[in-house]
């Protein structure tokens, strides 16, 4: 009889455990193919590492329940039409509880239309352009520091080093890059720099010869701009091939990828405005330290994390924290928890604007400048050079 009672007890325990372990579905698209694939894959790895870490620890604990995380994820082919179809599918067919954004401002702008229509929370990462957050959205929350900050940091660093520099802006004709460069041009003039050349190029440009000839003719000593990995890496390669005598080159996004070092000598000295660097020393109130994140990431992917990877992981952490604060997965309660979030993780501070005209805009996070430099052994490494308070090396200026 005792044995029967004991078995019944074990069975009821296992039933209780089964009934309290629930699943949260997080939906997002990844640009596994197309022009955005390098940056998008880095972001995906951040999501994936967060999910695996959470599930290994027994899931998200909220309201007395444990929620295991599962993904609904598809390849958007770097194509906004696919994003529109797939976000609808993830909400209606895969029943996603929460969403992460695709990579890039333009794809996110498309996804946000769908998620707002269905009143679903979407944490955006890899989507810095402010415009999307100024359309009255209620369920959109931005993890990246806004686009206006990207090149202003580079101009501040330049002002400190060479206030008489002449500046050229060469940038991708895409929503993110235009959103970065437009305020940066105005800021450069405000700082007293002579902006001698500015031109946008088509997103699929592979031949920069004509633009490079114009940069040389303009006598610019500094070039700021770029867009994403495919065009940014090509531009850097061709600037080096044409031996353009520039003292400083700062490009958006592309140089943050570990793949950048494959450019060899063309990579040296290039600066990237960064959302996060492994040398960052934020004291995490929640989640792993930067060192622990870096170790776990390198162990899993055999490569150092980029800021896209860190942004991906941090999106998961912020969502996890909000679910815990809300005591469950109810959309309204989790949205309210996100609205009141002011949290420092290994990625830095995250706080979302609750002002109606810019709801969800990131107002807590700030930008670093990282520069590719040769270390003592000659290996290419990325060093934090700005702000000066957090630098791991001096800015190399001029590059050569």
């Amino acid at each position: 009889m005792k044995r029967v009672i004991f078995i019944a007890f074990l069975l009821s325990l296992s039933f209780a455990a089964t009934s309290s372990a629930q699943t949260i579905t997080v939906g997002f698209t990844v640009s596994r193919t197309g022009a955005l694939n390098v940056d998008s894959l880095e972001q995906y790895r951040g999501f994936e590492l967060w999910r695996d870490t959470v599930n290994a620890a027994g899931g998200i604990k909220a309201g007395g329940k444990s929620y295991m995380v599962q993904f609904a994820s598809y390849d958007d082919e770097s194509n906004s039409k696919r994003v529109q179809q797939l976000y609808t599918r993830m909400i209606l067919e895969d029943k996603a509880d929460f969403l992460f954004s695709p990579y890039s401002s333009s794809l996110t702008a498309t996804a946000a239309i769908v998620t707002e229509q269905y009143e679903k929370i979407m944490l955006t990462t890899g989507a810095a352009e402010e415009k999307t957050y100024k359309l009255g959205n209620q369920y959109l929350f931005q993890m990246f520091a806004p686009a206006t900050q990207y090149l202003t940091a580079a101009l501040d660093a330049l002002k400190a080093r060479d206030p008489k520099a002449t500046v050229a802006f060469v940038y991708e004709d895409a929503s993110f890059s235009v959103a970065v460069v437009t305020p940066a041009k105005a800021y450069a003039q405000q700082l007293g720099f002579n902006v001698v050349f500015a031109e946008a190029y088509a997103p699929n440009t592979t031949d920069f010869s004509a633009i490079i000839d114009k940069v040389i003719a303009s006598k610019a000593t500094v070039l700021l701009g770029g867009g994403h990995y495919a065009d940014g890496s090509t531009l850097a390669r061709q600037l080096y091939g044409h031996k353009v005598p520039l003292k400083m080159v700062a490009l958006l996004v592309a140089p943050d990828s570990p793949q950048w070092s494959e450019l060899g000598d063309a990579a040296v000295g290039v600066i990237v405005p960064s959302q996060w660097e492994p040398q960052s020393t934020f004291k995490a109130q929640y989640g792993p330290s930067g060192a622990d994140f870096g170790k776990a990431y390198s162990a899993k992917y055999n490569a150092p994390p980029s800021y896209e990877s860190a942004g991906g992981y941090a999106s998961g952490l912020i969502l996890q924290h909000a679910i815990e604060q809300a005591g469950g997965t109810d959309t309204a309660k989790v949205a309210a928890a996100l609205n009141s979030t002011d949290l420092t993780t290994f990625y830095g501070r995250s706080k979302f604007s609750t002002v109606a005209s810019e709801h969800g805009l990131q107002v807590g996070h700030t930008i670093f400048l990282a520069q590719w430099q040769n270390d003592k052994s000659g290996a290419l490494v990325k060093q934090v050079v700005w702000p000066l308070a957090g630098k791991s090396a001096d800015l190399k200026y001029p590059i050569r």
């Binding site: 190029y201 699929n204 010869s209 004509a210 000839d213 114009k214 040389i216 003719a217 091939g241 044409h242």
Partner: protein
Amino acid sequence: MSGILASMIDGLLIGSVYGLAAMGLSLIWGVMDVINLTHGSMIALGMFGMYLLFSATASNAYFLLAPLIVVGLVLGIIVYWLAVNWVVDRPILMSLLSTFAVNMVVIGLGTAIWSTSPYNVNFSVPGITVGEYTFTGNHIAAASSAVVIALLLELFLRRTRAGKAIRAVADNRAAAELMGISSTRVLMVAFAIGIALAMASGALVSTLFPFTILSGAGYQLKSFVVTVLAGLGKPFGALIAGVLLGLLEGAVSPFIAVSWIPLIEFGLFVVVLIAFPRGIFGKATA
């Protein structure tokens, strides 16, 4: 050196590659009256062919052009028998659809194998510096290779029996057949040469710029413009027209945003179609 001159030299160098790309299209169009819509995908296959061969051998990329041209000839013969021979004398829409179908198959297979992510051939040749401007060795080598291949083709068409047969079939197929020329074999050879030229131009482009399986489409469009400029069936004229197009790009780019250049090119395309319907180098019909 002035910026305009440097820009025109850059334009001339890349224009030679446009010209080589257009030669294949022009030859097939002129000889067979077939608008070959596999042209772009064959250029892309040339890019990936160079990538694979270079990755495997790590030898001088420009020495790899010869085996790639042979691969192009074989591929051209296969595509001819699979998709072109059946539609040669049929309405032009048939050949458009047939070659478009092959194009879609190649793009589909290419996307499955290589995705649409960019690839690079990491091979560089030292450049030449004049004042502040440096002309990369790869551009110079690619342009030189394009001119050499174009000259060899011209010699083949003018000096060899097979080449003369191609020209004869292009001028008057019925008369050529009466002279004992097998027009089917000639058309097959012409098509194979056209594909080989497309692949060679793709291989040269791959040494200059990153590429994806979709990259051929842009060069196919430029090839149409160059072919119309030169006139149908004028392969060497296509090379000259390509150089002219490159020079035009170089000459106007210092004065306007580069993103406006396609507008000027296609504007020119329309003007030439109206003013010289048979192309700059084309003969008026009697």
